[in-house]
């Protein structure tokens, strides 16, 4: 028996445009109808809200398996749903690494029945050691569309070339969907030992720095490899002005490159590290005001395709250390939309493009996620009140961890309901599962 | 005098001293110092082993004047030093206390007769701290105490050996010893 649910009174925004309409979904996961004055078993109020395809995050760390004290797939998925996400891409740097089909199946299995559609990226190299290619074909067969050694970049240029060419050959296993290599750009020989952005703040604070060039050199190198191989490369968490400029010209040259930027890289600078509080320690590090301006510009002009969170939970014990000793990373899922909506100064249609249909296309998740809101489409939706202001607090988050750098910040835009496969998983800002 | 004169680091009580009565004139003080110089010499059969130590800050000038008079009478030099006993007080932590000036003990006190000199003797706590402090420089043969004014209200079993003037006071009164003499008054 299926039941129907009407989302009434909202403004529908998707990749095709904006219109006032009610949306009826059924519990089998489809959109039944889009229009006005329609019958349904139940209804949700969406007045004053935008009804959008669910948000898609290309970059989350769910910590399971290995570090369940910081986050589990279930709690991470709940946080994602509260943030309006209906699909998230888990990074493979768990313990053990997601570098086999068996590990892929384990993470996808853990994601089943949670509040969000959980996908995983596979590691490019075995154990992310940067030396041996992982069995990509078997992971593609298990559903992987994105490979990355996130946490480190692939340092060996010959190996990276091989990985690009090999992955590019595997779309016969994915129904023609492209396979993407995503790179955490960082030349480790230049960044080693650094804990924050190298610049005037690191020099004053006495915290070892890592220069912007550590990222930029690998962006430059991988653009060359994209040219050489003709394969797709996705640049993860771009953080510097020159990285953005290089990606912009690579795109103009017609190379198959895409890019994401995280919410923190357009909202926080290295100055925050002056507190010595490792809640501001993140990888790549927080940069300068000029970099923030460039990242925002890149998001506005389409150089950067997606806003990602790089959601990286850490327990308070792990963060109650010195800046040097604490691990990198900050929470992001439950605050991402509001921060993008508040800080980017873009129309909501653009913000949603950056957070829903464009990332969905990069990860091969469309049109199930990010697809147009039409009858027959997949019922994965976010209902967002773009005008609601609220104050960020670590106490009310679904995550097992509390390492948000945004406590006390007032933001605009609140996710009211999230619909996953036709079922309301978040109603009035409260998780249902 | 200490090596350096510094601004006082001790937070002062709130309010200004208001003199009411002049209890000793400048001449009275001169006379008292001369008398005390004689008494010290008489009691110690000369100046040979005597060392005068002025307590910072009020006793320092008196010690020098006593030393000058003793030299004038006896014809020989009397060593004069200074001592800040702040770090030996028993009330640190109860109120802000800071050392005011450096201590300078001119000779090893061991075997000497140390005469501690202060302007006003009141509760006796400063003298107790000074007794404590002087022993960290050596073991004197004897310690004596000279004060210009003994105003009573002792809280410890301490009595002066040489007194310029016994002056009965109330606890809320203030005794001020200065160049022009000694005034009695209160804080306004």
């Amino acid at each position: 028996m299926s039941t129907t649910l009407a989302i009434r009174g909202g403004i529908v925004v998707d990749s095709t445009g904006t219109r006032r309409a009610d949306v009826v979904v059924d519990s089998r996961g489809s959109i039944v109808a889009v229009g006005a004055e329609m019958e349904a078993d139940e209804s949700l109020d969406a007045s004053g809200c935008v009804v959008s395809p669910g948000l898609v995050d290309l970059h989350v760390h769910l910590r399971q398996p290995g570090h369940e004290e910081a986050e589990t797939v279930e709690t991470g998925a709940r946080g994602a749903a509260l943030g309006g996400f209906t699909a998230i891409l888990a990074m493979p740097n768990t313990t053990p690494t997601v570098d086999t089909a068996a590990m892929v199946n384990e993470v996808i299995g853990l994601g089943r029945g949670t509040a969000c559609d959980v996908h995983t990226a596979g590691a490019i190299t075995v154990g992310r050691d940067g030396e041996t290619l992982s069995p990509m074909a078997e992971m593609v067969r298990a559903g992987v569309r994105v490979f990355t050694d996130d946490g480190t970049g692939v340092q060996d240029v010959r190996l990276m070339r091989t990985a690009l060419e090999y992955a590019d050959s595997l779309s016969y296993l994915s129904g023609g969907r492209p396979i993407v290599l995503a790179q955490h750009c960082e030349v480790s020989a230049l960044s080693k030992g650094g804990h924050m952005h190298e610049g005037r703040w690191s020099s004053s604070l006495g915290i070892p720095g890592q220069p912007a060039e550590a990222e930029e050199l690998m962006v430059m190198r991988d653009i060359a490899l994209a040219r050489l191989t003709g394969a797709r490369i996705h640049f993860q968490h771009l953080s510097t002005a020159r990285s953005v400029a290089m990606v912009r010209s690579a795109k103009q040259a017609g190379l198959l490159v895409t890019a994401e930027a995280t919410t923190h890289h357009f909202t926080l600078t290295d100055e925050t590290c002056a507190s010595y509080d490792p809640v501001f320690k993140v990888h790549p590090p927080l940069r300068t005001d000029e970099d923030i301006v460039a990242v925002k510009q890149g998001l506005a002009d389409g150089t950067i395709d997606a806003v990602a969170t790089d959601h990286a939970p850490h327990t308070s014990e792990d963060k109650e250390r010195t800046f040097a000793d604490a691990p990198s990373g900050m929470l992001g899922l439950e605050t991402a939309f509001a921060l993008a909506n508040t800080e980017l100064d873009l129309p909501i249609e653009e913000v949603l493009a950056l957070m829903s249909w464009r990332p969905a296309a990069i990860a091969g998740l469309d049109p199930v996620h990010g697809g147009p809101i039409v009858a027959g489409g997949a019922a994965n939706l976010a209902v967002i009140d773009p005008g609601a202001t609220w104050t960020i607090s670590a106490d009310h988050m679904a995550s097992r961890s509390t390492n948000t750098p945004y406590v006390g910040r007032v933001v605009r835009g609140k996710v009211r309901h999230t619909i996953l496969r036709g079922l309301p998983v978040v109603v009035d800002g409260e998780a249902r599962m | 005098m200490g090596k350096r004169e510094r601004r006082s680091a001790v937070p002062r009580a709130v309010g200004a001293f208001q003199a009411r009565t002049r209890v000793m004139s400048a001449e009275d003080v001169d006379r008292a110092i001369r008398r005390m110089a004689h008494e010290i010499l008489e009691r110690n059969s000369g100046a040979e082993d005597v060392v005068l130590i002025g307590l910072q800050t009020g006793g320092v000038e008196l010690a020098h004047r006593l030393g000058d008079d003793m030299r004038a009478i006896e014809g020989s030099e009397v060593p004069v030093g200074t001592l800040d006993a702040t770090m030996h007080r028993d009330d640190y932590g109860m109120r802000p206390v800071m050392p005011e000036a450096a201590t300078e003990i001119p000779v090893d006190p061991t075997g000497k007769v140390i005469v501690l000199v202060d302007d006003v003797l009141y509760t006796g706590r400063t003298v107790r701290a000074a007794l404590d402090a002087i022993h960290s420089y050596g073991r004197p043969a004897a310690v004596q105490l000279a004060v210009m004014v003994d105003r009573g209200h002792r809280e410890l079993p301490i009595r002066p050996d040489y007194v310029g003037k016994n002056l009965p006071t109330r606890r809320d009164e203030i005794v001020d010893v200065h160049h022009g003499g000694v005034d009695l008054g209160e804080l306004s």
């Binding site: 190298e198 604070l205 | 090596k3």
Partner: protein, 317 residues
């Protein structure tokens, strides 16, 4: 503990008046060290914990001597034998120590900002005894005290800081301390040993020691961290000595009144020639001696005086 407790985390937290107060106070404590019995009861009943995450026998002995001369009780949290090795978080370690009832915590840590973090978590006064490349405020105070006792007012005096500035907490502290006291500071090092982006620092920078040596009132040499040699910031220590070491020829070029200082321990033959280190204007031994008095003043101010380190009542008095 009554009233607000302040900490000594960074020399940059102190303005010129506060620094002068501490230096003046240091004279009183220096005198204590000259007594037959160099001990006063000023911190009787106070407990100070040493929390040294990094070996530093010299700094710890200096602080310990200071505490003992003030009659404080001390306890040593030896990191190598403690639960820290078992992965206990910094906060847990500090909470444990505070639960034992300490009034002060003296911290040495290899990570910049460790004392700042600890100060957020405890009521006790925190004294930074050196954190990573960041700060070493008591070293700067003793350096100021030593320099002032020879040169008097430091206004307009020219100080060279020579050597591994990039990795030096002493350099960072002393740039703040000496410029705050009015000195002109020139950093002398190859670029590999200078921090990035220091245009906004209130200093001059040169790579050529000979070009500035004759105008120096203070030549402050930093310790080359020999253990960093593997990273090859300079080709050889011999070359470093030739270009940036204080050899007898350069020492002769210094003005007669100029002071040679070094935070210790020295690498003779690297940043300083062995014979230069024994010249009368080389003040290393005085620096060590003054370290005890400065640390007594700091511990007394924070734990015994009833005043805050930067106290408006002090300034007003």
């Amino acid at each position: 503990m009554t009233g607000p407790v302040r900490h000594l985390l960074s020399i940059a937290d102190l303005d010129r008046d506060s620094i002068e107060q501490i230096l003046d106070l240091t004279e009183s404590f220096a005198e204590v060290g000259e007594r037959n019995i160099p001990k006063v009861p000023a911190l009787r009943g106070k407990t100070i914990a040493w929390l040294f995450y990094e070996d530093s026998t010299r700094t710890r002995l200096s602080f310990e001597t200071a505490a003992k001369r003030l009659s404080a009780d001390t306890m040593n949290f030896s990191v190598s034998t403690s639960s820290v090795k078992k992965g206990e978080s910094l906060r847990d370690t500090v909470s444990t120590i505070e639960a034992m009832g300490v009034d002060g915590v003296v911290v040495r840590h290899s990570a910049a900002g460790a004392p700042n973090r600890i100060a957020e978590w405890v009521d006790a006064a925190v004294v930074n005894a050196g954190d990573g490349w960041n700060q070493h405020p008591t070293q700067s105070l003793l350096d100021l005290y030593t320099a002032r006792s020879h040169l008097g007012d430091l206004d307009g005096r020219h100080m060279l800081i020579v050597g591994d500035i990039k990795h030096s907490r002493v350099a960072r502290s002393n740039v703040s301390a000496f410029t705050e006291m009015g000195a002109d500071v020139t950093l002398v090092a190859p670029r590999t040993l200078l921090p990035a982006d220091i245009d906004h620092w209130p200093v001059e920078v040169t790579h050529d020691l000979d070009s500035v040596i004759e105008s120096a009132d203070i030549c402050y040499l930093l310790r080359m961290q020999l253990e960093r040699q593997e990273l090859a910031y300079v080709p050889t220590l011999r070359e470093f000595h030739t270009e940036w070491g204080l050899d007898p020829r350069r020492a002769d070029l210094l003005p007669e009144h100029a002071l040679i200082m070094h935070p210790g321990p020295m690498n003779r033959g690297v940043e300083i020639d062995g014979s230069v280190a024994d010249r009368p204007n080389a003040l290393m031994t005085q620096q060590v001696a003054n370290g005890v008095a400065v640390r007594m003043a700091v511990l007394y101010l924070l734990l015994g005086s009833g005043l805050d380190l930067v106290d408006e009542r002090l300034a007003a008095a």
